[in-house]
């Protein structure tokens, strides 16, 4: 009988348990694939990534997770987008939806149509033509439809959930699937002197966990990838200046919105994530502009309900390790890099790392590791870089002069690729679409438009169409949206009916 392939996951938390659940659900035969996760009850989890992106649904679906049960267990609410307040300029507000503008059949040219007509006469803002945005503005929710003739086919949704409860839920799933959990603190790591591969981790209580393949989910400590294998960090903090967050839970007021809220402040921005039983809040800030106390005060002022917990401070640096897979070790989650959760990408980055790992690696041999890791690292780099540019855009595109952060950011030097994107959008509404990675064209559009970069020229292939021919298309979409809104219920009501959590 062949020895089982031993996979060791270092660290629980969202990344660790998502990884354990995903691998154990597809690599089912425990006589061939042994999965062990070591975590310490003494070391807390960061778990601030409570807002997700729509891909989380496919992750859950693949695990066979029942949505209602998951939402009840994790106090989850639905999420249709993110509301950005005071970004771009004080007093401004826009929603970045998980959805398109227009209806499905005309979405690819819809913004061009809208710009063309808007250049001739006054018409409602582009956001009025996004069904997802309109649901958000009314605190409504309904499920998407697969019927491309319906306006409900133009959006998808994600969740807000309690990340600690979600991790606990995935732990159950993983353990049911035969993943082993070891409680312990990793003290030392052993490497093969010839290959440099990790062979075992030693725990404080004297246990040894030997493995063939190691997954580093140890969070910011990056115990294996950075501390042991010395992967080099690529620092992006010259573009993303915030280096600290203070997080706190508060009471959730009634009328739960189906979106995350992000409010730009003097030295950063504040998030509010509505759950069924509470809200998650945090202030992401620049520590050389304000003190921890000032950040804490500012956070308190921005709460919508009474605080429920003490503040928790988190330090970080924007960037990522150049190779998140080295030797026989791949880092997933914060151990591979950090990008502030402005666009709720933390859990997405865990998910995409798992997808890429499963795509290239089949957990049966450590042959050809360098070929596999090159491919993996290439895919992950692309993910990180695309998100990075999108985040920088939020800072760069602003007219605020009220504080040093915003004055600095509005003229900071950003990657050339981003300057090019801004120019092409401004002059013609162009944004590139890709096969891999976030974000898609409507997302770029939402932020460009929402933060005041308006399209000035129309695509020449549209500009020769008379606007009278386009106006009926806009009117049709408005009609579809009105009809859809009438049929949708309030988000709060929907949750009560569908997945009310036990209190």
């Amino acid at each position: 009988m062949q020895q089982p392939f031993r996979i060791i996951i270092v660290g629980g938390g969202t990344a660790g348990w998502m990884t354990a659940a995903a691998i154990s659900s597809v690599y089912k035969d425990r006589s061939r694939f042994q999965i062990t996760l070591v975590e310490s009850e003494e070391i807390g989890s960061i778990g601030v990534g409570e807002a997700t992106l729509p891909s989380i649904k496919s992750f859950n679906d693949q695990l066979g997770i029942n949505e209602v049960e998951m939402m009840r267990r994790t106090q989850a609410t639905f999420k249709l987008g993110i509301q950005f307040n005071d970004w771009g300029r004080l007093g401004a507000s826009y929603i970045h939806p998980f959805g398109l503008y227009g209806s499905l059949k005309n979405s690819s040219d819809f913004y061009q149509y809208w710009s063309h007509v808007a250049s001739k006469k006054t018409i409602p803002d582009i956001s009025k033509y996004s069904f997802a945005v309109q649901l958000c503005e009314r605190n409504q929710f309904t499920f998407p439809s697969k019927d491309s003739g319906q306006i409900e086919s133009t959006f998808s949704y994600a969740y807000h959930f309690d990340a600690a409860l979600y991790a606990a839920y995935l732990r159950e799933i993983s353990e049911r699937a035969g993943a082993l959990r070891v409680n312990g603190i990793v003290e030392e790591i052993n490497n093969d002197p010839d290959t440099g591969n990790i062979t075992a981790v030693f725990l404080r209580d004297g246990k040894t966990l030997s493995g063939d393949f190691f997954i580093d989910c140890s969070g910011f400590r990056s115990l294996l990838l950075h501390k042991n294998l010395q992967s080099e960090f690529e620092d992006w903090s010259h573009w993303l200046l915030c280096d600290r967050a203070v997080a706190m839970q508060s009471e959730q007021p009634k009328d739960i919105p189906p979106y995350t809220m992000s409010t730009a402040k003097e030295a950063g921005w504040q998030w509010r994530i509505p759950l069924q039983h509470r809200a998650g809040n945090g202030y992401v800030y620049c520590s050389n502009l304000i003190s921890d106390d000032q950040a804490h005060d500012s956070l308190l002022k921005g709460l919508a309900g009474k605080p429920l917990t003490d503040p928790r401070f988190i330090k970080f640096k924007a960037g990522r390790y150049k190779k998140s897979w080295q030797k026989n070790c791949v880092a997933i989650g914060l151990s591979s890099g950090f990008l502030e959760p402005l666009e709720s990408t933390s859990i997405y980055l865990i998910h995409i790392a798992i997808i890429c790992l499963l795509r290239v690696f089949s957990f049966q041999s450590n042959k050809n590791l360098s070929i596999l890791s090159d491919e993996y690292n290439r895919l992950i780099d692309n993910e990180y870089e695309r998100i990075r540019d999108f985040l920088i855009l939020h800072y760069r595109l602003n007219d605020r002069t009220d504080s040093e952060l915003w004055r600095h950011c509005r003229s900071m030097k950003v990657p050339d690729s981003l300057m090019q994107k801004m120019d092409l959008f401004k002059r013609r509404g162009y944004s590139e679409s890709f096969k891999y990675g976030l974000f898609s064209t409507p997302s770029w559009l939402a932020v460009f438009h929402g933060q005041g970069l308006f399209q000035q020229g129309v695509d020449p292939f549209i500009s020769s169409i008379p606007t009278e021919k386009i106006e009926p298309i806009l009117a049709e979409v408005s009609g579809m949206i009105d009809k859809g809104l009438q049929a949708a219920s309030t988000h709060e009501h929907f949750i009560k009916q569908y997945c009310n959590a036990a209190t």
Partner: protein, 485 residues
């Protein structure tokens, strides 16, 4: 309205020139009065033997152009093809198809190819292609309509088109939508640094424009006047330097695929048309000569190409197909060999990208940069796809041994390496061909992964057999209920 470009001059000939002219006039200028599109036509280089084998994307192009496809097909003696059959590239292996369709069904999110590898390991004798509806349509010559089951099939077909007739039909349609034609020889290209101002013709006429399209073919007449060292030669990857085009009698019944056969020093393509069979033979003049090829074709492929027309071919691409106000399209931008029906394909990519990036003002440096970058990457990926056939051959003649020893382009090497590890097709951004196409060709040439994914073991052998049978049954039913091409 556009306050920049009003007048566009295209200099060129044949397909590249007329498609671009038609496209710009009909798609860009919907109201028919904001742009003036003039074609300065150079003499045709086409002969009665020439053929365009074009990928399914030409159907989309025809639709975008608003062209009457039925009429085009009729005029161009067109035959549809669902794929291409490769014979003799790996003599120890069976011939194989590269069709434009899926390969089986990806059960439980795992590539069908992985299941197939396991089944072969367990003794299955059927080739991978037997599980592709597109391949079956090609083999049996059936017009299979869309199945509505995208996870099983999304088959598509391209066309074999008789070149002269097709170009003439496109030209007529282009003139109908208002493309102007000028004849005459260009004496001077009047320019200011990298901006072309006007063209002086030999009859004394001076043609001014805001934007110039170079569709002059391999000469790249306009764009080469703007810069040196813009051509990246692919001679070290593509050893064939001669192409012979010829015709023979129509095949009956005419297959719904192109036949691509390797011979001692090159390859030969047979393309059924309604009134003839078009033949393209590529060879390396360092390894044989015209009469040698003619003799070998007669003996091996059974066709007489002695009356064919021979031309040199030099593969490569421009580093920057768009410089200043001059954009090169088609062969001027990328001179590709006809393998995989790719010779006319860069033109479609250009049109798709122009639709997104054609200047809407006088400032377009970023459009140009994005276009150049994406075009370069698209063409490189296509080139790599062609190189696969040469690099993975297993013939032993001098020509083919030289091909086997090619130093592979970096990205292709990565793709081959990772496929060999785990059977995963690493498709990049900017690719025409997707996972199924790469797997077809890798597998067809015998590139075998070391392992299949253990994820296929989640399905019991019985269930796997049943699923395989189900796919075969579905294909058979679809074929039997579909009309002949």
């Amino acid at each position: 309205m556009n306050d920049g470009i009003k007048k566009i001059i295209i200099v060129g000939r044949d397909l590249d020139a007329w498609i671009t002219a038609f496209f710009l006039k009909s798609v860009l200028d919907k109201s028919r009065d904001s742009y003036e599109v003039t074609l300065v036509e150079l003499g045709t280089l086409l002969t009665e033997h020439d053929i365009f084998a074009v990928l399914p994307s030409y159907k989309m192009l025809h639709k975008t152009l608003g062209a009457n496809e039925d009429k085009l097909r009729q005029t161009a003696k067109a035959r549809p093809f669902f794929g291409q059959r490769f014979t003799g590239w790996n003599p120890e292996l069976p011939e194989f198809f590269h069709a434009y369709d899926r390969l089986g069904i990806n059960f439980n999110g795992v590539d069908f190819f992985q299941y197939w590898m396991k089944a072969v390991n367990n003794g299955l004798k059927l080739p991978l292609e037997d599980f592709s509806l597109g391949v079956a349509a090609a083999k049996h010559g059936r017009f299979v309509a869309s199945t509505g089951q995208a996870d099983f099939s999304h088959l598509a077909y391209g066309y074999h088109l008789s070149a002269i007739e097709y170009v003439n039909a496109i030209a007529r349609a282009a003139m109908e939508v208002g493309v102007k034609r000028e004849n005459g020889n260009i004496i001077t290209i009047n320019r200011n640094n990298d901006v072309i101002d006007s063209l002086s013709l030999d009859d004394g006429m001076v043609l001014k424009a805001d934007f110039f399209i170079d569709a002059s073919g391999a000469d790249a007449l306009l764009i080469n006047s703007l810069t040196d060292n813009n051509f990246e030669s692919w001679e070290h990857w593509f050893l064939c330097d001669r192409i012979i085009t010829a015709s023979s009698a129509p095949l009956s019944p005419a297959p719904a695929f192109s036949q691509v056969t390797a011979f001692s020093s090159g390859w030969c393509g047979l393309y059924p048309l309604n009134n003839r069979t078009a033949i393209q033979t590529l060879y390396s003049s360092r390894h044989t000569d015209f009469s040698g090829v003619v003799a070998e074709m007669k003996m091996r492929v059974g066709v007489d190409i002695s009356q064919g027309v021979e031309r040199p071919i030099k593969c490569g691409m421009l580093s920057r197909p768009w410089i200043g106000n001059c954009l090169a399209v088609g062969t001027a931008a990328a001179s590709m060999e006809p393998l995989d029906a790719l010779q006319e394909h860069s033109l479609v990519i250009s049109m798709v990208m122009l639709k997104q990036l054609f200047p809407n003002s006088n400032e377009y440096q970023n459009e140009r940069d994005v276009y150049n970058k994406k075009m370069h990457s698209f063409i490189e990926n296509l080139r790599d796809f062609q190189i696969v056939h040469y690099a993975l051959n297993s013939r032993d003649e001098l020509f083919w041994t030289a091909c086997k020893n090619l130093k592979l382009p970096h990205i292709l090497k990565e793709k081959i390496d990772i496929f060999k590890c785990c059977g995963y097709a690493s498709v990049r951004e900017d690719e025409t061909f997707q996972e199924e196409n790469w797997i077809s060709v890798f597998n067809g040439h015998g590139l075998a992964p070391e392992f299949y994914s253990p994820l296929v073991d989640n399905m019991s052998d019985d269930e796997m057999i049943q699923n395989f049978q189900k796919i075969l049954r579905m294909i058979k039913e679809r074929i039997n209920s579909s009309p002949l091409v």
